[in-house]
Amino acid sequence: MTYQSRPSSRSAIIITTLEGVPGRTITQHFGLVQGSTIRAKHIGRDIAAGFKNLVGGELHGYTELLQEARQEATDRMLQQAAQMGANAVVNVRYSTSSVAQGAAELFAYGTAVRVD
């Protein structure tokens, strides 16, 4: 099986947190795929958040930052899955950890499969 013979565009890949895709059967397992990214806050956002910290509530800047980062991690996972020829990633899990002062790692992993 070559990558060229099984082109799957990344956007067409189905992602679920279940052990399969409802209504479809798994025909092939490709194993674990993962994607991660480490992001640091930038100073502008940090200063704004510093003020927001005093009164509390949602820090929109950080929410967006982490959403973008999570999307990036997911994309990397999907890229890996697409390279294997998968058209679905099942049992996906996310995790976040702060690896350094002011930086966070966003990590996504799942099992790449082919479904009918």
């Binding site: 279940l18 409802p22 806050k41 958040a49 005093l54 009164v55 509530g57 929410t63 982490l66 996906v92």
Partner: protein
Amino acid sequence: MLELLVIFGLLALGYVAGSIIEQNHYASIKVRERRTQSVPVYNIGAKYPLPEAKGAKLFVGSVVISSDYYKAFLAQFSKLIGGQIFAYESLLDRGRREALLRMKEDAIRWGAKKVVNVRLETATIGNSHGDAGILSIEVIAYGTGLR
């Protein structure tokens, strides 16, 4: 003397603004929870036979929420005597419910009838001032929407 005044000022600001923000947030959470009540959310699903559905998609809801100066002060104080830290309980509660709501609202826009195998994660977002700073947390909720 001036330092004390500044601290009291910040405490008052944190208390007043923090309470208003929290009340508004809870009011919005309650309204949206009622509005999205018709779509159930389950945290089971992984070990059950796959449900019947025409489509399945991953939905993620996330929020970064910060405590205020007053709460951080209270929590610092509570740490001396131990026990429950009331100040932070509502913060985490708000974060979780907000994240779940965002996931649900996203799923409803797509046409989901239910969301299964939902997982919740909490992470502390360290600030640049180290441990002494004000707690901010990120909560994410993710699950599979079915339609």
